[in-house]
Subunit: 110 residues, 2 copies
C-alpha cells in the first residue's frame, strides 16, 4: 500500500538526550542537534523541493549515533560531522544515490 | 532502492509545540504528547514486533493535527482521542489495513 508521497524524501534525525553517564549514550550527546540543524539549513539553502528534515525521539540505535533514517527508502545513516552531513545531502538527498560509506545495515547494533 | 526494513513499521507522531496564539496552531496544543504516549504504551502492551512509535518535530500539517505519518508506506493520519489511536493501532499497525476514516490525502492542507 505505497502511497504517492506527501514528501518525496523524509529524513528523521535522532536528537534524543540521555544523562551523561548513561551506558548506551545518546545522539544529542554526540552533537546531533547541531548537525540536524545544519542539515536542515543546508537543505533549505539549496532549495530542494519535496524534502523534509525532522528531528525525532530515540531511534534506538544509540551506540551508533548520531543516526538518521531516510524514508520512504528506509536507509539509515550514521554521521559525525558537517562533512558527513554534506555528503548525505549532496549525494543522497539531492542526487538519489546512497552513501555506502555511512550507511547502516540491518544487522548493525545496537 | 527499498531496503529490508530495520523496523517493519515506523510511526512518527508530531509533538511540536508553538506559542498558544500562533495562527497555525500546533499538535502539542491539541493533546499530541499524551496521545503519542498512549499509542507507544498500547503498542508495547500488545507486544507487536518490529514496530517503533516515535515523537517527531513539526511535520508541517499543523492545521490538521495532531498528525502522524507511518513509514515505509507513507500513510498520514489525523487523530483526536484515544479511540482514534486505538483504531490506528488495531486496524493498521497490527492488522495492516489503512484506517480510511482518519487518513489524510496528499491534497489535504495546510
Amino acid at each position: 500500500m505505497m502511497e504517492e508521497p506527501y514528501y518525496r524524501l523524509h529524513a528523521f534525525c535522532c536528537t534524543n538526550v540521555r544523562p551523561e553517564q548513561h551506558p548506551r549514550g545518546s545522539c544529542a550527546r554526540k552533537n546531533a542537534v547541531a548537525l540536524r540543524d545544519y542539515l536542515k539549513k543546508s537543505a533549505k539553502e539549496k532549495g530542494i523541493d519535496g524534502v523534509r528534515i525532522n528531528a525525532s525521539g530515540c531511534l534506538d540505535r544509540c551506540e551508533l549515533g548520531p543516526v538518521m533514517v531516510v524514508y520512504p527508502e528506509g536507509i539509515w545513516y550514521r554521521y559525525e560531522n558537517e562533512s558527513d552531513v554534506d555528503e548525505i545531502l549532496e549525494q543522497h538527498i539531492e542526487g538519489g544515490k546512497v552513501v555506502e560509506r555511512l550507511k547502516l545495515e540491518v544487522e548493525d547494533g545496537p
